[in-house]
Structures are given as structure tokens and as C-alpha cells.
Subunit: 810 residues, 2 copies
Amino acid sequence: MRAKVPTAGHLNGRLAEGLALWRVILTAAMSLLFKHLRIHQIFGANTDVGKTILTTALVRASATLKNEVFYLKPISTGPIQDADDEHVLRHCGTLKDRVHADCLYRFHVPVSPHLAAQLAAGEESQKIVPDSTFINSISSYVQRCASRAGGPGHMYVETAGGVHSPTLSGTTQLECYRPLFLPTILIGDSRLGGISATISAYESLLLRGYIVDAILLFRDDYYRNSEFLTPYFAERGINVTAVDAPPPKASDLAENFTSTERYYEDLNILPVVQNLDARHEQRLVELDSMPRRSLDALWWPFVQHGLVKGEKDVTVIDSASCDFFSVYNPQTSSLESQLDGSASWWTQAFGHAHPALTLAAARASGRYGHVMFPQATHTPALQLAERLLEGPGKDWASRVFFSDDGSTGMEIALKMALRAFSVRHKLEGKERKELGVLGLRGSYHGDTIGAMDACAEEGVYTCEWHNAKGYWLDPPTISIQRGRPVIALPPALTASEGMFESTVVSDSESWVYDVAGRLKTPLAEVYRGYISRTLQGLKRARGVPRLAALVLEPLVMGAGGMIFVDPLFQRVLVDVVRERDPASPSGSWRGLPVIYDEVFVGLYRLGMQSTIPLLGATPDISVNAKILTGGLVPLAATLASDSIFRAFYSTEKAEALLHGHSYTAHALGCEVANETFKLIEKEARSKAWLAAQARWQAPDAPSTVWSFWDPQFVQAVSRLDTVAEVMALGTVLSIKVKDSQAGYVSQSAQTLLQSIRERNNGSSSSEIPQFSVHFRTLGNVAYFMTSLNTASETIRILEDKIWKALQNSG
Amino acid sequence: MRAKVPTAGHLNGRLAEGLALWRVILTAAMSLLFKHLRIHQIFGANTDVGKTILTTALVRASATLKNEVFYLKPISTGPIQDADDEHVLRHCGTLKDRVHADCLYRFHVPVSPHLAAQLAAGEESQKIVPDSTFINSISSYVQRCASRAGGPGHMYVETAGGVHSPTLSGTTQLECYRPLFLPTILIGDSRLGGISATISAYESLLLRGYIVDAILLFRDDYYRNSEFLTPYFAERGINVTAVDAPPPKASDLAENFTSTERYYEDLNILPVVQNLDARHEQRLVELDSMPRRSLDALWWPFVQHGLVKGEKDVTVIDSASCDFFSVYNPQTSSLESQLDGSASWWTQAFGHAHPALTLAAARASGRYGHVMFPQATHTPALQLAERLLEGPGKDWASRVFFSDDGSTGMEIALKMALRAFSVRHKLEGKERKELGVLGLRGSYHGDTIGAMDACAEEGVYTCEWHNAKGYWLDPPTISIQRGRPVIALPPALTASEGMFESTVVSDSESWVYDVAGRLKTPLAEVYRGYISRTLQGLKRARGVPRLAALVLEPLVMGAGGMIFVDPLFQRVLVDVVRERDPASPSGSWRGLPVIYDEVFVGLYRLGMQSTIPLLGATPDISVNAKILTGGLVPLAATLASDSIFRAFYSTEKAEALLHGHSYTAHALGCEVANETFKLIEKEARSKAWLAAQARWQAPDAPSTVWSFWDPQFVQAVSRLDTVAEVMALGTVLSIKVKDSQAGYVSQSAQTLLQSIRERNNGSSSSEIPQFSVHFRTLGNVAYFMTSLNTASETIRILEDKIWKALQNSG
């Protein structure tokens, strides 16, 4: 079953370390949908509720409708002589020629699957089956059936035990099957207690996003569970059908067969099958209509609708799991896997639909809903605030102000900084309105107008009320060019400091990021001189407002084009700004309030919790968002030092920070954020992290920076002729392609890498999983971003795809 | 059991219509927490998992620790001769004097509770017990026990069947018990299938926010469920304890007793009890510490921390349910009910923690997580967009642009409007930057700086970068004064139009809101003249920028002070703006793009889905948020007409609307919004709505406006000497108190109504539920806001509390 793995030269055979790549990948997302083959999985509300009997009835009814019918029981825990597939076949009588029934894996003892696995592990002939193998077996089987089915077909995949019964590997049924994302028939429990079991099982399915198309259970005239469940689920849009229970088992085999046959003949389950067909049909109609309807009703962010050619340009996302979207292909009426190469616009921490985040959201919603926040407190918000103060705010921040997204978080940061400056300098009236910020060219802080005003107006990113307020320095940048780290100095700096060379080639990336070690280098002195002279000059400059805050995106200016700034420059900038104000009160902000916008760069996006320790200079204000909620819902946090807080502290209501959104510190978002912190702590100790970190360590120069991307791959790409420069840090890979027309409107990166949007790029073998890659570009920069837990095998395949695309287009 | 209901004079005995008020109220939220009495409820993962036996073991262990122990089985479905309380008592031996055991309600047949109810309904002696009565019985019982318990005590409340087994009324156990918010012991299922049953039951509890403190189940050496469950729940922070199963039942009663006694004696369940004690202790320590920690770590929105006196000023919200917070009182170490009188900052639609919204959030999170939105689509977002276009956007809007909150939604609206104006008038460069808006004085559109710039700068609500861009007219306002609707005309208008009277007294509120009917009145002509002349004058005015958009909060300017604007004035304003531009292309915006900010006023906050039909003039852009997600998570939608959309449509990327937040159209929020729409549709046909609407109908003048507040109460309040004016519309009640110092910093409304913040205001009888009311003020305006489904009985009691407070302080 092991596939041959194609390895690109740059990977040096590391991929061949015995990893069966495609297993890992396939389990990430492989939703199965076929127009001509309607598939349902059968989950049980409990063990022994009649799954096999009711499935047999469904199979018979499907066969009656002249369909080809497939029955699959991926695991059998019953005695071999009465295996479920044999039961199904035995009771299909004359319809048998249309029915295909199969079991994958068998065990001989009537125990819970997790014990079957333990027992099996003791036998030479059986091994514990990993989830990925298990799911891939099912997927292969299903795909074979789909190709084999001539006319319309039905398939029923029967799971084992209840919805949360453990699989052989120890995960539970509904988690294990989730990548297949099959619509579900839930077999309800007709016994005493069965109402509760049925509803709870349904809720567990719902927590994993499953589509539940029907509920079936036995009629029981004493407990009458169906009488309660029918209206209960009607309200939730699901049909409940109660059917007669089978006759008691006769001891005589022949007699048993006859009475069971009679039972099946008398059951009328056809309407259920027809309803399932209707639901299947409806799902396809809905999917087919979505591109048109979306083109008609939606106005997309950052999209020029005039460039959207038509329905084929619309990505219909049916579901998502781990790092993959399940995308609908209307040509084939099927779902395809697409790698979410932008980590869903820079938000994902653990891939899509992580159960722990869903449960955290549910927990907070069930306990609080949303509760107003002024002068109130609740555990999720308070814990999150304390976590942030202990994390990115350690040793400098005293308070957390919550808001809804990075942009609002930055508006709050700016309001804090400008007020602190105004109060310190006793500014009044118009003086307060005419303040500006000091920043770096290429920065971006969000799309609300206040956040935009903190950035230079250049290029296309502007709007009517945008009024850039401040001054922005050209920063030196870092990239890998032809295999070596290069610091590129901006012309303004080289001119000002009389330098001949505009680049500094370094030995290693770890040296570049050793800010403390570089503070005494000649380059630091050059930076210091350049910044000091520039700031001195600004005092006399016309058109530059009074500067009242220093605003930085540490290390990387993201939306501005994935610009990796030399951290030494940012450190020296903060130092110079502060040193110019030796007289400020002790323990207070100095020179200018310093804002770090960590919305994109924080919380391990770049491999470190916060950029602050690396820079070695604490800010007065910082902002976190995006990864903060693990990639589920909007939430932002603005952290501030005590001296900033004091600028608003008085007994005058009017002097308070009069800012607040209705959903400030919403419990759901805060609880999800707390869960995110917990998951990150765990992930940070994982083998995958340690392995990735080890790859970036040079024996002679231990590094503080690392990446999930392979260093050899990064170097190899940087040597390609089509590539101007590359950079990787944490989850981010950035490739700047050579292009005469740079900037936001450039299409060159799109064009060059176009082929990896296609499904079968990079996989020569049919055994290799085929998936396309969704990625976004910023002009001539293509970037790729992983989650914090993306399988290294996935990243290796993605590197391979990128590598091939760049080579082929070269 | 029916309580005497205190009715204020103005209520005219309507309350006495047989409603047992306090029942309804009490069930809303009555979390039970006592320092000296540690209470746990026992839920079963299924029927017959050993709840009573394990609870008996807990009772015995608790009694051993010298505690007073209370056992309560609120419903017994077992045969009366073997009732659970008797079993408990029988097996407490020498410890019996410390144990109190009781059953509430008994049934004689071993059936599911919902059938017991049906059976009982047939008997003369038994009635179906409504949830509220049931929960109140438990609450009373518990409170009596709490007062009775001398020393430290433990209480165990055993529920019936599984977590979702129906109660007598038909709701399920965990929904019914939710208002009590007792921490939970889950009895796991040790049988085949029990792993699944236990995890699913846990997840159902989690969806209602329950605290699960322990899981107990029988040891089974064959299925060994506890071996799987122990590490599974350890990861989730919950201890699993497996204990021996009881001996098989002996037929001889005495023998049975002896073997059962021996069984209990051999069980060592003490560590579980000690762990429960530790959890209880820990919960209290956490609650006690929260005010201090919050004062140390949080920076609250719109709060002057210098005015927060100390810990007692911090509202610790332990949980919330329906319209009530459960607030911790550190003096008594207990939880108290507090009515959420601001509908959690204007967001709530159905009260807190509505299960349907939690399930919707879980469903979307489990299916998608968050998926990036540019050029993509998913069902929750598409359906929501279509719903909005069919709802508030009907007949005018063509597209929906999603963002994160009302403020970002308005920034987008402004960017749209200004661009459309710029493009139409071919403005370039600086001309584009110097545009302004036309609006009304007192308006508010959010806290980001762009949204602030669309409002006049007056009073305290401003900040450093706030730069009001536009012109704002003084609008005529509406209020009830001394029992009659009054239109107050602003001095600017009376002066301009040479009017002697500054108020117009109307006959009825329904007349005031009959905009179409009033269009031909002389007052409409006055408005028309005033607006036309003002706009004419603005052309020559200095300091007024070129006006490029008309921005209105229809009907009510909320944050500006609950200013009810005369809708006729807003209608005439839109008409005049459009009539001044007869030459615009047909089907396109005319004069100025018109923005309606419906963030606060939309989606039935004022009793109507949208304010647009009432005004009779469609906007070109509108914004919805707040109620949009039923009060759970942030989400906003900006709707736009096709002619606005076209202003951005080209083949140039740079001309697109370059705005987008990372979590744009997040699936969780969209799905919750869709569920909100469904719930509203259902609610709008409810008896409560029809009854409230009927109360506002005058026989001679059918009204288009109505309120959940009682019209007689509103009138009565308006006649009080302390009250300047009152107004009610939909869920909103606004009371402006007489005060020489008006404006945002005024404390008069706070002071006047202070007493309703106290718990026992308004209830003279000890049988009446005591709850305090959380409300917020805007200067000298106190406002109260209900959800869309607040029980009318709750509103009547709140009216009573307000009435008494105003009278006593008068």
C-alpha cells in the first residue's frame, strides 16, 4: 500500500525516510461526492440500535429502485460467521446482482473497537490500523465503486458502534470519518433512554459539521421515542422515520432466515430512500447554483469584480478540514481538495474545523452568549487578558483592551498613543488634531480609515478619506538571494550615510536576527546615524505633522508586500526615539509612545510567540488579532503599559477612552482564544516543531529563528532565475518573482505559479493524492502560509509543487 | 403555589390575568451557589447507568465527612415502593441523621418522563408540571436546605434518565435545569457503546455551558470503558473515576439489603467527594478573586477607571441565561439574578445562551472553521446575503459586503458613497480627500475614526484624529410628554421658518409615524423649506466641505442619546437631496448617495425588520449589525445598490473596493445570523408579539409602530414630575429625566434610578423573585432594552420597578 514518493532534487531524499506521504495528505480533506452515486454514512445513536438491519432495509429498497447498490462496513466487530456484509447479501434475494457488499478489516470478538485493536495487536496477522490508512482504504474503495457504477447508484457506509465509539487507533468514529464528510443517516435508539442518546448523538455530529439527512429508528409501542423525536427533529429540518422492529431471533437458522425475510418484505422504507435521493439532488442543485448566486449577491473584499470572468472564477467551499478546503467542481459535480495556502487570510493556527475550538466556542456560547463588558468581567475575558499580559505583554504591559479585529485594535492603539502624547505635552484643541506618526514605508495596519491614516499614501491602497498623517522611513530589508541572506539598504540611507554598497551579504539568517549581537556592529551605527539625522531634519521639514507615536510591524510588513525588515533597524529606531527624550518620568514611555502591530506577526506566525524578545525593546502598546482565535472568529486585543493607561485615568468621564464595540470581549471569541493558547503550548513541544527547528540550526551558530519551510528548499528556490528573492520565517514563505512591473497590481507572481492552482500538478503517479493549491499574491510576491500544525509531509509536497511550477515556467 | 402579584396602579390589573409572574421570572436565571452548601447535579450518560447507586455512594461518603447531606430527586419514574430517596436513606445506616432525602413528584410506572406526563395527565390527582414550576420547586427546596444547613453541607440533585431525556413538559433535562446552572457530575455508561454515550452526553452538557466537575462510572472488566475515558477526559480537565459495579440483585429482600450494604461499605468514593469539595472551593476562590484581577488587568470600553471605586463596582458575570446575568455577590458568596436591561449593549435578540444559536455556531465551526472569502463562497454567507437582500435590501440593494462590526460596516458604507460621488463627478486627487457628509446633529456611527468623522464634533465624544467632515442639521425630535406625543422643533428651524411655536403636539404616536400620510401636511412643507434653504446656504458657507453623502440613523439616533427623530423630517431630507439632482442617470443614485445606518435600529430593535418601508424612501447603502447575529458574535453587513457597486466595477484592480478584514463573512457568524433570521420569523408570529402589537392599536388609527413596553406605563411615566420625556418603540424604552446638566457626562438618570440596581426593589413580598436590574444611561437619559422574546411578565415587573424607583425619588 505504500506509494512511491516523487522527490525533487532539493529535498535530498529526506522525504524517503519511510513516510507514506499520501496517507497523511489524503486524510486532510477528501470529501466524497458523486452525482451518479449517492453515498450516505450510517451512524448509530448507540451500539445495538439496529444499524445493520436498517441499512439492509435501505440497501434492499435502493436495489428495488433499479440502482446499483454498494454496502460497505469498514470494520466488523461481530463474529465472522455473521458478518454484516454477509447479512446484507443474504437478505437481498433476487436483487442480489445489483448489490455489492464488503467489509474492510474484521475482528472476531464482540467488543468495543478500541479493545479489538488491542486484541488484534497481539495477533501476528493483524495490526492496529492508523486512521489515515483506514480512511484511505475507504476512500479508495468508494472511488473504485464510483468508477464501476454504470447507472445511478447508492452507497451506504456503516460505521461501528455509536458516534463516539473509538476506532482502532483510538480516535472516535465521527472524528475519524470527518475528512470524508459524507452526509449522514443517524440510527436512533428506540429503547428506554433512547431519546437522550439520539439527541446527544445528533449534537455530537453537529459539532463536527456533519449534514444529517435522516433519522431512522425502530418503533417501540411502549417507549414511543419516535413520537417525541419526530416533532423535535422536524423543527431542525430532519425527517424521523420509525419502522417495525425485527422479529425475535429464532434458534433455527432456516426459520430465522424466513422470518427475517418476511420482516424485510413488509417494511416500507422506500420513502426514506426517495427522500435521501431528493436531498442528494438538492445538495447538487444548491452547489451548482452557488457560483451564479454568489456573483449576483456578494461584494467580495479586495476583489475587482470586473476581473472575475464568470462562474468558474468562484471558489465554492463546501466544507473545510485541517489545511484543506473541499471545493466543488461543477464540471464533474464532485468535490476536490484544495490546500488553503494563505492559511485563510493569515488567520489559521490549527487548520479548519478543529474540534477543540468548536467545543470552546460552544462552551462559551452555552454559558454566556455575549454579555456586555463595561465594568463587568467574565472568566473567558479575564483569563485571556491575563494570558496576554503573561505572554506578549510580559514585563511591560499592564492592561488589555478588547475589540473586534486588527484594524479596530490598531485604531485603539493609535487613540491611546496620541492621547498619551497630547496629555504629556499639554496640547489643546487644534494641536491635538494635527499629530502624526513615525513609521516605515510599506506598512499596513488595517482598513478602517484611522488605521489607514497611520500609513503612507502610495500606490493604489487609498480611499477618499485616507489622509496619511506622519512620516515613513525607508527601511533596510532582508531576503535570501542566490542562497545567501542579503540586507538591502534603501537609497535614502546609502545616500545619507555616504555608502557605496547598497547590500550587505550575511553569513546566516540566524546572524541577521541576532539583534542584540548586532547592536555594536558598524551597520547599527549607520542606522543610528541615518535615523538621527532624518529625525533631526523632520523638525524643519514642511508638510510633516508633529510626530506623536512610533508605529511598527515588527520583522515583517505583511500586507505591504511581505517585506522582511531588518530587525536591527527597527530596534535602533526605537532606541533613537527613546534616547532623544532623556527627561521623561521614570517607568514611563519615552520620546514617543511606541506601538507594535503584532496582528499578523504575533502568536507564532513567525515561529515566535512575540517579536518583542527578539527586538529586545518593549513597546508601550501592542496589538494582537488573527491567530488569537486560532482562525475561527474575529477578536482583537490592544495591550498597553501603565503609563499609557494613566493618560486616560482621572475622575472625568470625558477623559476616558471613549471607545467600545458592542461585542467587546465577546465570551465566545475569548474562550476560543484561551483554547488556542492551550493548543499552541502543546504544539510547541511537538516533535514536528522540534524537527523543523533543528533543520534551521547551524552547528556553529544556534539560531533564534526557524521556519516550517525547509531551509534547503528556500535556498534552492532563491537560486532560480525567475526568482528575485525568497524569505521564510515561521509559517511564512515569500517568493518575489522577477518582474519589471512591481507593486500591488502586478500579476507576475500569479502567472508564474498558476500551475499549482491545478489539481494534478506535481504528482506523476496516480497513487499520489491530487489537490490544488489556493494561494494569494501581493503583486509580484507570492506567499504561502501554513498553520502551526500542518503536517510536515504536506509542506514537503507543497514545496515540491512550488518547485516544479517555478522550474517549468522558468 | 400561586403567588400574590403586586401590581402598580398604572398596570390596571392586567397583571392579575391569572399569570403567576414569578414563575416565569425565576426560571430565567437563578443560578444556585452557596459557600457552605456545595451542590452538584447528577446527569446520566444514559438511563440505567447507576445514577442512584453512585449518588447513594456519594451521599454516604459526604456524610462520613461530617457534612449535612441533602439528596434530592426532583422526579421519580421508578416504582413508588423502591423510590430513589428511600434507597438512599435505607443505605445510610448510622449516618442517617445527617442525611435528608426527598423526591419531588412521583410516578408509578417505569417509563420515559414524557410518557409519565401523558399518563399523569390522565389522572385526576396529577397534572403536567410546567418547567418553571418544576424548577421553582427545586429552587425553593434548595434554598430551604441552604438555610437549614447548620455546618458545611453537600447536596446532590439527581436528574431523570439521560441528559436529553424529556421532562414532564417536553423540554429535555439539560435545557430544563439550565437556569439553575448547577455544576455537574456525569455518570458514565460502562456497557458496550458506553464510551460513545458518555462522550456525547458530555458534549450536550458542554453545549449548554455546564461545568462538569467529575465523571463516575462502573468498572467493567470486559468492556473497560473507563480505560479509554480516563485519558480522554483528563485532556479535557475532568477526572474519571471507575468504581465496582453493585452485586446482582438478590431475590430475598434482606439478603439484597445486606449485599448492597456490603457493596457500599467496600466502595472508596471519598477521593471523588474531596475532589468535588476542592472544585467548589476553587470556584469560590476564582469568583472572589475576579474583581481584583479584573481591576488589575482590564481596560474597559467607555469606562473612566478613575470613577470605578473598587471591587464592588465590578460586575462578575458567572453565566447568563435568557434575559438575566448570574452575578456573583462576594459579600454572601452567592449568585444573584440581574436583568440585562441594556440587552447586552444593544445586541440581544433572544436572551443569552439560546441553544439554537449555540448549535448554529457549532455547526458552522465544525463544518468550515473560517474560510477566506475573496472570490470564494460558502452556504452560510451566501444564504445570509440573500436573506438581507430579500429583507432590509428588498427592492433596492443588489449586493452585500461583510465586515466585523457596525463601525467597520459604516466605514465601508462611507468608502462606497464617497467613491460613487467622486467617480460621478470625476474628482481627482485632493478634491477626493476634501469631501464631507450631510447628517443630523446627535448622530453616531461607531468608534473607528472614519465612522467618527461622519459625525459632528460636539461634547466629549472625540479624539485626537477625529476630524468631523460635513454638515449636520438639527432635527425635530419626538417624545411623549405629559401623556401626549410631541414633536419638538429645533431653534434653527423655527427661526429660519419664522415659526412661533417650537413644539407640535400630536394626537397619537401612530399618526407621527405615518410618514406617507404626513407628507402633504404643512409641517412637511416647513421641513422642506428649512432643508432647501439650509442646503442652499451651505454652498456659500465657509468651512463646510463639499457634501458627498447623506448619512442617517433612521428614526432613532441611539448612542447620541436615544434621540427619536421625526421620521417625516428624515424622509423630506432624502427627498430634497434627491430632487435637487433631476438629471442623474435613471436607476441610479441621485443628488447624494444616501446611507442608512440601521446597525442599532434595524432587525426589529424598533419593532420592524427595517425602517425603510416606514420612511418610504430607499437608501443607496445601508448597514446592519448588532442583532444580526442574535447577540452572540460580531458581524456586520453593508448593503449597496447596483449603481454604487458599478462605481467600483472596472478591469482595474486599483479601482476595486480595497477593503477586507481577515475574518470577513466568517462562517460561524453568518450561520448564527441565518439562525437568528429563522428564529425572528417564528417569534414575529408569536402570541406575545400579537398581544403587544394589539395594545398599541388605537381603534380609530391602526398603527404601524408598536412596542413591547406597555403604552399606559409609558404615558404614566411621562406624567411624572421628575421626567422630562419618554419614548418607546419596539424593544426600546427611553426616559429623559429633568436635569439642568444634560449631555453625556450627566449622572442624573443614574442617580434617579439607582434603586433598581438593588435586588429587592419593587418586591414587597418574599415570594416575589428578587433580582436587580443592570441598565446604562446616556447622560440624563436612562434607557431599557428587551430582547425580541423577553417574557411580557418580565417586562411588566421591570416596568413596576422603574415606576416605583421614579416615584420614590420624585
